[in-house]
Amino acid sequence: MHAIDYEAPTTLAQAVSILKAHGENARPFCGGTDIIVQLRAGVRRTEHLVDVKKIKELQTLFFDAKQGLRLGAAVPCIEISESDVMRRYYPGLTEAAHLIGSLQIQNRASVGGNLCNGSPAADTTPALIALGARARVVGPNGEREVPVEAFVVSPGRTVLKPGELLVELLVPAPAPHSSDAYLRFIPRNEMDIAVVGVGASLTLDGDKVKAARIALGAVAATPILAAKAADAIIGKKLDDAALEAAGHAASDACSPIDDMRGTAEFRLHIAAVLTRRVLSIAAERAKKN
C-alpha cells in the first residue's frame, strides 16, 4: 500500500475539519474491510485516512418505540446481529448485516461503510431502503439528510462531497403489524457477493397490505427502490396473484448486467422469485406484531 497519514479524531467537528483541510485527498476510514482492500489493489487512492470509529455519535445504536432507530455509521455488523432490539424490530436489516462476510468481517464491517462504499451489491443497503431509512450527513456546510435510495449515485460513488461524512442512519419506528425481511441469492452457502438481493418491509391491515417498500441490490448500477412492485400489493390481499404481480414489477425495475456471477436474464428471474419470497416472510412476521 502507498504511504498514507492516519488520524483518529474523537469529535465530529474535528473529523469534519480534518476532512475539509485535506479535501479530495482524505477519506473517512471505518472497519477497513473495503478501503484497505481497495488501497492495496490500487483501485482507490488517498493520502489521508480519517478513522471515524472513536466518534461517539457514530457508535450509537439507540431504539425508541416512537422515534425509531438511530444507527451510528460506525456500528459494526456484529453488534446488530447480537442486539435483541434489532432482531425484534428490524429482522430484515439484521439478517442483511448477518450475511456480510465471515465473523472476522462482521466484527469490523459497518453498515455505514457498506453504504458509503457505494457497491450496487451491498447487502444492507436494500434492507435500509426497504425500511425508509435516511442518512444523516455532516460536513463543512452543516448537516443534511438524504433518503438512502438517493445516496449511491453510481458504482462506488455516493452523494458525499469532500469534507462530508455519514453520521448515522435514521430508521422509522415500525408501525403496528409491520415487519421486514431480506434475502439474497449467492452461488454458495456463505460468503459471496449477492447475485440479487431483495429487501422488503410491509404493514398489514387485517389481511390486506396497507403499506410496503421493496428494494433490490445487484440488479442495476445502484441499489434501487422498486416503487411499482410495492404499488402492486398495496391495498390488496397478499395472495399468489398479488405476489406474482409484485415479482413481475420488481423484475421490470431492474437493469442488470451479465457478469461472472450470473447473466442478466437469470438476475431478472431471481429478482421476481426473491421478491415473492421476501414479501411472504415479511408478511408472516408482520402478522405476529
Binding site: I4, Y6, T33, I36, G101, Q104, N107, M191
Partner: protein
C-alpha cells in the same frame, strides 16, 4: 514515506510499544516489526482467515486492520495461546486429531476456535462450522478441524466441572 507512529498495545498479555507506518497492516506490524510470525498471510483480502487475531476479544483479519489502530487495544495472537510453553487444550486437540497438514491455516483456525469457545463453551457442530467459515484450509477437508474443536470444547467443559466440583 510517511512518518512512523508510536503505538502502545497489549499483545498476548504484555503491554508493549512499537513503531509502525500508518500504511502497515496489523499483520505486517505483528510479523515484520514485532517478529510474531505465527499469524500468516494468505490472501490479504479478508477471505482466508490465516491472519486472524483477537482484538479486544473479537476475531478479526489482521490483514484488514491497520497497525496504528492497535493503539490501546488488547491483541491475542497464536503465540499467546500456550502458557509457559505448555500448549492449550485447543492446540493439543488439533495435534491429537491431526487437524493440520501444512499448517499455514492453523494459527487462524486456533484463534477463531478460541473466540467461539470463549463465548460458547458448548457449541453444536453447526455452530463450530459457522464460526470457522471465515477460515480456509486447502489440506484437511475441515472434518478433523471441526472434530478437534468439538473435542476441545468437551474437554474444557469437563475440566471446568472438575474445578467447580470440590466444595
Amino acid at each position: 514515506m510517511s512518518k512512523k507512529t508510536l503505538v502502545e498495545a497489549t499483545i498476548n498479555g504484555e503491554t508493549i510499544e512499537f513503531l509502525c507506518e500508518p500504511r502497515q497492516s496489523l499483520l505486517e506490524a505483528l510479523r515484520d516489526v514485532l517478529e510474531l510470525t505465527g499469524s500468516k498471510e494468505g490472501c490479504l483480502t479478508g477471505d482466508c482467515g490465516a491472519c486472524t487475531v483477537l482484538v479486544d476479544g473479537r476475531a478479526v483479519c489482521s490483514c484488514l486492520m491497520l497497525g496504528v489502530e492497535a493503539q490501546g487495544k488488547s491483541i491475542v495472537t497464536v503465540e499467546g495461546l500456550a502458557t509457559n510453553g505448555v500448549l492449550s487444550v485447543l492446540q493439543n486437540k488439533f495435534l491429537e486429531h491431526a487437524a493440520l497438514q501444512c499448517g499455514i491455516c492453523t494459527p487462524g483456525f486456533l484463534i477463531s476456535a478460541k473466540s467461539l469457545l470463549d463465548r460458547n463453551p458448548k457449541p453444536t457442530e453447526h455452530e463450530v462450522r459457522y464460526a470457522l467459515a471465515g477460515n480456509l484450509c486447502r489440506c484437511t477437508g475441515y472434518d478433523k478441524i471441526v472434530k478437534a474443536v468439538l473435542d476441545a470444547a468437551a474437554d474444557i467443559r469437563s475440566q471446568g466441572e472438575v474445578k467447580a466440583a470440590p466444595r
